[in-house]
C-alpha cells in the first residue's frame, strides 16, 4: 500500500516501486479489507482488478 498524505490518496499495488512514496506491506486479506480514511480515495492497481471505464460527470 502506497499513500500520499497531501493528496489524501492510497494505492494498492502487487509490487510497488521502491521510490513510489510512503508504503506499507500488506497481506492479501488485509489489503482486501483496507478502507481509506474519510475524505481519502483509494486506487486499486493490483493484477486482476479491472479499471472503471473513463467517465465524465456533467
Amino acid at each position: 500500500m502506497t499513500y500520499d498524505y497531501a493528496a489524501r490518496r492510497v494505492w494498492l499495488d502487487d509490487h510497488p516501486s521502491p521510490a513510489a512514496g510512503a508504503q506499507w506491506g500488506l497481506c492479501e486479506a488485509h489489503a482486501g479489507r483496507t478502507q481509506p480514511p474519510m475524505g481519502w480515495s483509494e486506487i486499486d492497481r493490483r493484477a486482476g482488478r479491472s479499471e472503471p471505464p473513463a467517465s465524465l460527470v456533467s
Binding site: 489524501r8 472503471p52 473513463a54 467517465s55 456533467s58
Partner: protein, 223 residues
C-alpha cells in the same frame, strides 16, 4: 448573471463545507461528499433564481410552461436515460479514442474530475447522496438553465444550429475542465437537440441523469 451568482454561492458554500470537514481547498484529493453537495447546491440557487426571474419578467412565471420543464411520458425517461448512457460509454469514448492513441494518459485525465467528485463516497448512504446531487438535482437545474433559459433565449436570436452550439459551449465552459471540454460540449449539443426537437426538457433531464448516474455508480463500484 444567474450563473455568476450561482458560481459565487457555490464557492462560498463549498469553502464553508470544506472548512467544516477539514478539507484543504485547492487540493487534488477526493472531495468529501459534503463539499460536493454544498458546491452544487450553491450553484443551483443561482441558476434557479435566474430561471425564476426570467420566467417572471418575460414569461408566465411558470417554469413548466416557459421552459418546457415536463416529461410527456415514461418514454422520455427510458429513451433519455439510454441516450445518456450511450453518450457516456460509446459516443464520447469514440470521439476521444484517436487522441488517446497519441496521448496514452488521456483516459486517466478524462476521468480525473469524476474521480475527485466521487472518490470520497464510501458506503451506500454516501453514494446515494452523490446520486441525488449529481444524477437527480444537477440534471434538472442545469437543463432548466442551459437548455430552458439559455437555449430558448438564443433560439429567438440565432439560427437553430448556432443556438444549439453556443448553448453547448456555454454548458461545457461552465464546468471549468479543459480536457473534458470537448466531450461536455458534444454532450451539450445532444442535449440541445433533444430539447429543441421535443420542445421539452424531460428527455434531456433523463439523458443528463443517465449520463451522470452510470459514472457515479461505475466509479463507486470499481473502487
Amino acid at each position: 448573471m444567474g450563473f455568476a451568482v450561482g458560481l459565487l454561492l457555490a464557492i462560498i458554500a463549498s469553502s464553508l463545507a470544506a472548512q467544516a470537514v477539514g478539507y484543504k481547498t485547492g487540493s487534488t484529493a477526493a472531495l468529501p461528499v459534503a463539499v460536493t453537495v454544498a458546491d452544487v447546491a450553491g450553484l443551483w440557487v443561482g441558476l434557479l433564481a435566474a430561471a425564476a426571474v426570467a420566467a417572471r419578467q418575460h414569461g408566465t412565471g411558470r417554469l413548466g410552461r416557459d421552459f418546457g420543464l415536463r416529461f410527456a411520458s415514461p418514454l422520455d425517461v427510458v429513451a433519455g436515460g439510454a441516450i445518456g448512457v450511450f453518450c457516456q460509454y460509446l459516443l464520447i469514448p469514440a470521439v476521444y479514442w484517436p487522441f488517446e492513441q497519441i496521448f496514452p494518459g488521456l483516459a486517466h485525465s478524462l476521468s480525473s474530475p469524476a474521480h475527485q467528485e466521487t472518490g470520497a463516497a464510501h458506503g451506500p448512504f454516501e453514494v446515494t447522496v452523490l446520486l441525488l446531487a449529481l444524477a437527480a438535482g444537477a440534471p434538472v437545474v442545469e437543463e432548466l438553465f442551459f437548455r430552458g433559459l439559455v437555449l430558448r433565449g438564443l433560439l429567438g436570436r440565432l439560427p437553430v444550429p448556432a443556438a444549439i452550439v453556443v448553448s453547448a459551449l456555454a454548458f461545457a465552459l461552465a464546468h471549468f475542465e479543459a480536457v473534458q471540454f470537448g466531450g461536455l460540449a458534444l454532450f451539450g449539443v445532444i442535449l440541445g437537440v433533444l430539447a429543441w426537437r421535443t420542445g421539452r426538457l424531460g428527455p434531456g433531464i433523463a439523458a443528463h441523469a443517465g449520463f451522470n448516474a452510470v459514472a457515479v455508480i461505475s466509479l463507486a463500484h470499481f473502487r
